[in-house]
Subunit: 381 residues, 2 copies
Amino acid sequence: MERKNIVNTRYITFEGPGSQLLLDSGQKLTAVTIAYETYGNLNKKRDNTVLIFHALSGDAHAAGFNSESDKKPGWWDIMIGPAKPFDTDKYFVICSNVIGGCKGSTGPSSINPETKKPYGLSFPEITINDMLKPQKKLLEHLGIEKLFCIAGGSMGGMQALQWIVAYPETAKGAIIIAAAAGHTAQQIAFNSIGRYAIISDPAWNNGNYYDKSCMGKRPDIGLSIARMIGHITYISEELMHKKFGRDFINKNRIKKSFIDFTKEFEVESYLYYQGESFIKRFDPNSYLYITKALDNFNLSQGYKNLVEAMSRVKSRCLVLSFKSDWLYPGQQSMQIVKALKINGVDTTYVDLDLPYGHDSFLIEDKKLISLVKGFTGGLED
Amino acid sequence: MERKNIVNTRYITFEGPGSQLLLDSGQKLTAVTIAYETYGNLNKKRDNTVLIFHALSGDAHAAGFNSESDKKPGWWDIMIGPAKPFDTDKYFVICSNVIGGCKGSTGPSSINPETKKPYGLSFPEITINDMLKPQKKLLEHLGIEKLFCIAGGSMGGMQALQWIVAYPETAKGAIIIAAAAGHTAQQIAFNSIGRYAIISDPAWNNGNYYDKSCMGKRPDIGLSIARMIGHITYISEELMHKKFGRDFINKNRIKKSFIDFTKEFEVESYLYYQGESFIKRFDPNSYLYITKALDNFNLSQGYKNLVEAMSRVKSRCLVLSFKSDWLYPGQQSMQIVKALKINGVDTTYVDLDLPYGHDSFLIEDKKLISLVKGFTGGLED
């Protein structure tokens, strides 16, 4: 049996003078911890780093296994490893958990050093731009000034977009997948109903549920509803129907003694499972803060328009969207591409014909892999 | 000031020997009440009746005003009235509330004659086909055997589909708008999350909330979440973005003393309002029963396939879908049309280029009006 590629999540806390994180809101966060993983080795020229940004429910664990007993590898293992697009024989790959998250980086469930209690809603509002700041600090800590490439899908793609505008001198290439320069009303609407479900759950208790002193539980129902809504939007109608169709869990439809309103169809059972597994691994307050950062994200803000914002970009760009992604439709990627092209940025755009919907970037596919590989290969010239 | 066209909702209760309603489940409902409205007059030949079917949240009040103080007319007033497609100078138009509903027809909030208490979950499971049965009885009561036309959008369209298969000898014409012969996994998924939100609301109390003895309230939060989810799916992404974009309610974004997770964007306020207004007029248990009937609807059931089911049809058909309707995409209407055409049924199909999404059938539009008018006019030949 092949030995698993074991990787350890590491943590860094920025402490001491000048280490405070100044947020876009003007508020400050002290003693910020960032969880991160690295794969491959930094070369002598310190110019082979690939910075990976995760999506809403992702974390620092992008590749390999954290222990021998782990059944699944990191969330972008299809991309990161020897001979893969982010080839760890060539590149030094870094992925960190965003602030506001709940996978090791400072977020609302972290202990506020001033009160010695979880932040809860005393955690300050954060932006996509704020998420980048500790990642930049982490790079400085690791002695890395220049990046070979940055990459991410969905919220990861938005971080990549923000990065090439905020730190235009740093990244040679940027891969922006299934993203947008700003949410549409519908994208905001889906997130907002999820947030409404969480804050309407009596167990949410205004964000103070960590000690389970209110009702003895967390707002799990609200979070699972939010996740179920999200999950519908992440996969294509076609894939969902192909997977589940109108199939019943109980194929013989044996009469039950009650009307089962939510677990009679296969697709219902699947969604319910998605909700149940999510509540075990995610913090409801983190869901509020991160989706709010997503909805507030507007790359044009502070500029006349998107074209002006993109005038700062110096990275070569690969922009990908998926024909079956109805949550982040191709036209949003087209807006990004147009703004880049108007500024003369070397940009490749492909609207990939993959059937999986928004989550296509997480699924192993030859076309996707070869496009990303081709782009990183081209950056080496 | 023009006097309003006042119409009264009427009620009929089927009582006495042989009046029980035998449901598809094998269960029986006694003393079923149906709320209905009529517009125009039945002619001497008794062949000018148009039967209108309402959608999920609709009711018997399809046209005119119930009182002088009513601000809005019935839900399909654009279609019903003098010189309108369902011309009340020519046709006798009937619309009734479905069983399982909460607008006057017997449903889970009605008093069970046996227990003298609201049915709650003791109300039997119903199907789209079951919804037709008391409507057929109502026609018999009114002395109507033949229908000039039947028509409906969304769930109303599904009732029309079921009608032309269940009672093929009755309707000369059938107008089926934005409907499907069976829900896809995604359509089931959206409804199911709404149901999950309702039954997870502690105030639902297993359907026993009518006396508010549990927590002093109804499962309003669950129902409003269900409605908010539904509402996103009823309107097009384009319309939603045109209406609200990324606009903030508080245009100057004056700093609040708290983070507002759900009511900062215009679109959030709009959805919240949709939820709030819905809970005032709809019964959460009715929402469960009716959406379940929608998800269970499968016109092919009991037949080899849809083509065989449609072999029963003798009505001339007009099938309409809307290009911007992403909930009930055109291809579902195409399936219906193909099955009708294979059977040689005289069928007209138009995929209308209206921008409003699934709810386009409720919005006044020249193209829509003239198509329906043209179809009813053609039926007169």
